[in-house]
């Protein structure tokens, strides 16, 4: 067991301890849960400290036998891609737990589910065995299902069932593809990620398997037209759950694209890249356009999130290092921004009992600090230079422009639209004539500042000084781009293994 494994399982242990606490000791439940998530964060910082930024290989994990009959191992590790997602998870989780401090209903299962979810998400990012990955991937579904369904808004049942069925349908297709790849590998059967890389597959088989994986990840991201579960889920989820859902869980989809979809089926990925990019750009424009029209601010964030994830997918599939790096850092950025936005709107909703943009007006007068923080996060989300959103979007657009010059244009238009809906909503809520309801809006409290301040600090920090992040991401991004250029077609280019950054790119014969 390594520090990484400890990070993964500390929350689960916390969940079990929470489960054992006798009834009625809610304060103790909260403390235990928060300490477990803080301990996980501390452990992940140790992982960050040990991380060697000079290599693209997987590090700091462990590999244990599990089901030898089927070649299943417990195998974990991080590279520059998963490292930051792990840190994002462990960073957002204590915030989400602390934001749930006032939950009075069914405290015990609530905190237990959140902690179990943290383990599942961390495991998803660290698993290097496809079986293990699938296990964590699906296991994350169950706590989220309960979290939305038991502690959500009035339409929670509809939202949670839709969420569960959508994601499960996608995952099951992925399972079929995993099994297919498993039985296609020559020699000793294994679910090991690095062993499965370079499994020779015909273009047709690759395309089908790619689409099956892609369905699972695209639903999670979500990409248009598979997005319809997400606005409902966001709108109905309570604030902390929405933070986790949008901040971390969606990244599992984008992460899966980089980690599995492209490297396992590179020829299909190259062949289908234009198709995926069209979907991504459609998502950027559609998400932004629909966001403009939203009356409920939570739904506005949901649609803006669709647009932002369109950017991330675009960056991943342009096949250039800048795009890939931009996509990866943008995942972290997006997590921080969404977390902050959901927390802030949650605070406003708590004060006025409404999330409707039209119910606010002139709130900046009575709550200047809150308004200021809101503005910073909104500006970050629309990509203002000096804040984190700019770094990611700039890199993505740079990559898109260098690879497919004209494709960057509609994406840029998406940024303009983002400015429209974000600033327009801000203007309507915080400026203009003061409405009666808004008078009650008191400024941010110390407890709430503790929640938002770290997020805003990192939003500014990454915006000003992204280099420490990019230094660790870049080797892994290079590797990912090289993997996309590899070919694993059985004939033609021969069976090319794409092992690590050392393995040179092999010209593809697929297109």
């Amino acid at each position: 067991m390594s520090w990484l494994d400890a990070t993964i399982f500390v929350p689960l242990v916390g969940a079990l301890i929470v489960g054992l606490i006798p009834k009625g000791r809610d304060a103790m439940v909260r403390m235990v849960a928060l300490s477990a998530s803080l301990l996980a964060f501390a452990l992940s910082l140790v992982v960050l400290g040990q991380f060697d930024s000079g290599t693209a290989d997987f590090q700091l994990g462990s590999s244990l036998g599990w089901v030898p009959q089927w070649g299943i191992r417990y195998e974990t590790g991080v590279d520059g891609i998963s490292l930051w997602l792990v840190l994002l998870t462990t960073f957002l989780m204590p915030i989400a737990l602390y934001a749930s401090w006032r939950t009075e209903r069914l405290v015990k299962p609530y905190f237990a589910f959140l902690l179990a979810l943290e383990t599942a998400m961390l495991g998803t990012f660290c698993a290097l065995d496809l079986f293990l990955f699938y296990l964590f991937w699906e296991a994350s579904l169950v706590p989220m299902y309960f979290l939305i369904g038991m502690w959500g808004g009035p339409q929670r049942l509809y939202a949670t069932v839709k969420f569960f069925l959508y994601t499960l349908a996608g995952s099951l297709l992925m399972l079929a593809a995993i099994l297919y790849v498993y039985f296609s590998i020559p020699g000793e059967p294994t679910f090991g990620y690095e062993a499965l890389l370079g499994t020779p597959l015909s273009l047709t088989a690759q395309t089908l398997a790619f689409l099956a994986f892609f369905a699972a990840f695209a639903i999670k991201i979500p990409l248009v037209p598979l997005h319809t579960w997400s606005p409902d889920a966001y709108a109905e989820a309570s604030t902390p759950v929405a933070v986790v859902l949008s901040g971390v869980m969606l990244k599992m989809g984008a992460y899966g694209l980089i980690r599995f979809c492209i490297p396992l089926f590179p020829d299909a990925a190259r062949r289908l890249a234009p198709f995926v990019m069209v979907l991504a750009i459609a998502g950027i424009l559609y998400g932004a356009l629909v966001a403009v029209m939203q009356k409920d601010f939570k739904r506005l964030i949901a649609y803006s999130s669709i647009a932002h994830l369109g950017f991330i997918v675009l960056g991943i599939f342009v096949g250039v290092e800048q795009g890939m790096s931009g996509g990866i850092i943008q995942m972290v950025n997006h997590g921080l921004q969404m977390g902050a936005l959901f927390l802030l709107i949650g605070m406003l909703a708590e004060r006025t009992g409404s999330r409707m943009i039209a119910d606010f007006g002139g709130a900046a007068r009575s709550a200047p600090v809150l308004a200021g923080l809101f503005l910073v996060v909104l500006l970050a989300a629309l990509g203002l230079p000096g804040l984190n959103g700019f770094v990611g979007e700039f890199l993505i657009l740079l990559g898109a422009y260098s690879a497919y010059s004209w494709w960057a244009v509609p994406a840029v238009f998406g940024i303009v639209l983002a400015a429209v809906y974000m600033l327009w909503a801000y203007q309507r809520m915080f400026h203009g004539p003061v409405r009666v309801e808004t008078r009650r809006v008191v400024d941010i409290r110390a407890r709430e500042l503790v929640l938002v301040a770290p997020l805003v600090a990192f939003i500014v920090f990454i915006g000003v000084f992204p280099q420490p992040f990019l230094d660790r991401i870049n080797p892994a991004a290079q590797r990912a781009v090289k993997q996309m250029e590899t070919s694993v077609l059985p004939s033609g280019g021969g069976v090319a293994r794409s092992g690590g950054a050392s393995g040179g790119p092999v010209a593809g014969g697929g297109n």
Binding site: E138, A139, M150
Partner: protein
């Protein structure tokens, strides 16, 4: 004067069955001497001893050789042993569940235990049957016991209806099975599945191996189809599933659990021996039948479950869908298929027994509270039972970390290995549909407020223990399934050599 040679009669192949049948007779005899219902504690004790003895005898022959016994009519192989051990566990759990159930409903009678013992004995014999006649005897032994058990709640109309339907359609299916045997006999000249042993030439395998390929003839194919129909009834494959919802609903819940777990396992064991061993050379002929059955069963079972309002009926349709999933392992007709099917059935049995255990516990007197609406807000009344049932449902849905996921993984893996990826894709889509009704129950239990604080349903230590045990198995085997899949892989079938 020639010295008298005593024939060696090996009984290890049917020792567990003998133990169970003996215990059943003992139960009947002892009950004649004990009067009154008050002192019925000996019934579950005797049955427990019987099942433990059967399991012990089966385990004892685990390391024995694979061979045919009793003039080649019973196969003593590791496959049969695996099935018998599993069936003994199922029987044990059923009896423990039934104890509390019967006491509550004032149904405690020795016949119940005797019938459970007889039916499990029949199921065990099914697993080792190496002759179509023995297979038929075994089939009838457990079927007739189950007909009575299904109608054991004499006061219940649903029970009457279920037993009647099960009996009529069961008799119908037996006729198909018998006709299949007759046709097979007509074509081959024997009813033995193997028949290559020196003493017994006329078996199906020896016929298929001896005859030229083009002389297999239509009759054998038709006979195979009829035998599949007969067994298809028992495993509740579509379109032979009509009796399932009614019988499952009408039967006392512990019996329903035994039917879902045990009958399926026994009938599938016989089907596997028939198809994968005896008719293996004809797999190009029977595979399309099994593929069609699997696809239709998975889809129909999953879709029809959606509209049900009674938890027992939901689980009945789910068991139909599961028969379809198991069939994907059968159609693979490879090593992974056999071990995967065994693994699937063993773990499905544990899960479904647990699920019906929860239903039995929560149903209350006369099983009045089995409708979906009765489970509203269950989590707030019985958090433990709700958690256990959710675990079982998630396992049935095939969500990872539970054993149901592993089961699907192994049977679907076998089918993909055999080249039937499209069937697997259909199966996974059916699972996605099926997930809807499983989580529908979860929604009702967790996300709806309890209508009124229903009557407190106390439950005994035994049934609570069964639920806890099966819940532990569901999650434990889901995480650490290596040993069980190893055991299933070791459970090799007896093949004709030479």
């Amino acid at each position: 004067m020639p010295e008298f040679q005593a024939p060696t009669i090996l009984l290890s192949g049917i020792a567990p069955e003998i133990a169970l049948a003996g215990t059943a007779l003992l139960v009947m005899i002892v009950s004649g001497f004990v009067s009154g219902h008050r002192s019925s504690w000996y019934l579950p004790v005797l049955s427990t001893v019987g099942f433990a003895l059967a399991a012990a005898l089966a385990i004892n022959s685990l390391d024995g050789v694979n061979e045919l016994q009793l003039s080649g009519s019973v196969a003593a192989d590791r496959f049969a042993v695996f099935v018998k051990i599993t069936l003994a566990v199922f029987g044990l759990l059923t009896v423990w569940l039934a104890r509390d159930y019967l006491t509550r409903d004032r149904l405690e009678e020795p016949e119940f235990y005797a019938l459970v013992l007889f039916s499990v004995a029949g199921m065990m014999l099914m697993a080792g049957a190496a002759d179509l006649i023995v297979m038929f005897l075994a089939l009838e032994t457990f079927s007739i016991s189950l007909y009575v058990l299904v109608g054991f709640r004499r006061g219940s109309l649903l029970g009457q209806e279920g037993a009647m339907k099960y009996f009529l359609l069961g008799a119908f299916s037996s006729a198909f099975f018998l006709l299949g045997i007759a046709l097979m006999y007509g074509a081959v000249g024997g009813t033995n599945l193997y028949g290559s042993a020196a003493e017994n030439q006329d078996g199906i395998v020896s016929f298929l191996n001896g005859a030229p390929v083009d002389s297999y003839g239509l009759v054998i194919i038709i006979a195979t189809g009829l035998l599949i129909i007969g067994l298809g009834f028992k495993v509740a494959a579509v379109p032979f599933h009509m009796w399932t919802p009614d019988a499952y609903q009408g039967a006392p819940s512990p019996v329903t659990g035994l039917m879902a777990a045990g009958t399926k396992l026994a009938a599938f064991a016989a089907l596997i021996r028939l198809l994968d061993v005896t008719l293996f050379t004809l797999r190009l002929d029977w595979r399309p039948i099994i593929v069609a059955l699997a696809v239709v069963t998975m889809i129909v079972g999953s879709v029809l479950a959606i509209v049900q309002e009674d938890v027992k009926r939901i689980l009945a349709y789910s068991s139909i869908a599961h028969a379809g999933f198991v069939l994907t392992g059968v159609l693979a007709a490879n090593d992974r298929g056999v071990s995967g099917t065994l693994f699937y059935l063993a773990t499905y049995g544990l899960t479904v027994l647990g699920a019906f255990g929860v239903v039995a516990v929560l149903g209350g007197r006369d099983e009045r509270r089995v409708r979906l609406a009765d489970y509203r807000g269950l989590f707030y009344e019985h958090p433990g039972m709700a958690a256990a049932l959710s675990l079982f449902l998630l396992s049935l849905a095939g969500v990872p970390v539970t054993v149901g996921f592993v089961g699907k993984l192994v049977v679907f893996g076998a089918a993909i290995e055999a080249g039937y990826t499209w069937v697997v894709v259909v199966g996974l889509l059916a699972s996605a549909v099926a997930a809807f009704f499983y989580i529908r129950i979860l929604v009702v239990m967790y996300m709806q407020e309890p209508v009124r604080p229903g009557p407190a349903t106390p439950f005994g230590v035994l049934s609570g223990g069964v639920v806890a045990l099966t819940a532990l198995a569901t999650i434990g085997l889901g995480l650490y399934w290596g040993p069980l899949i190893q055991a299933a892989e070791n459970a090799t079938l007896y093949f004709v050599t030479g």
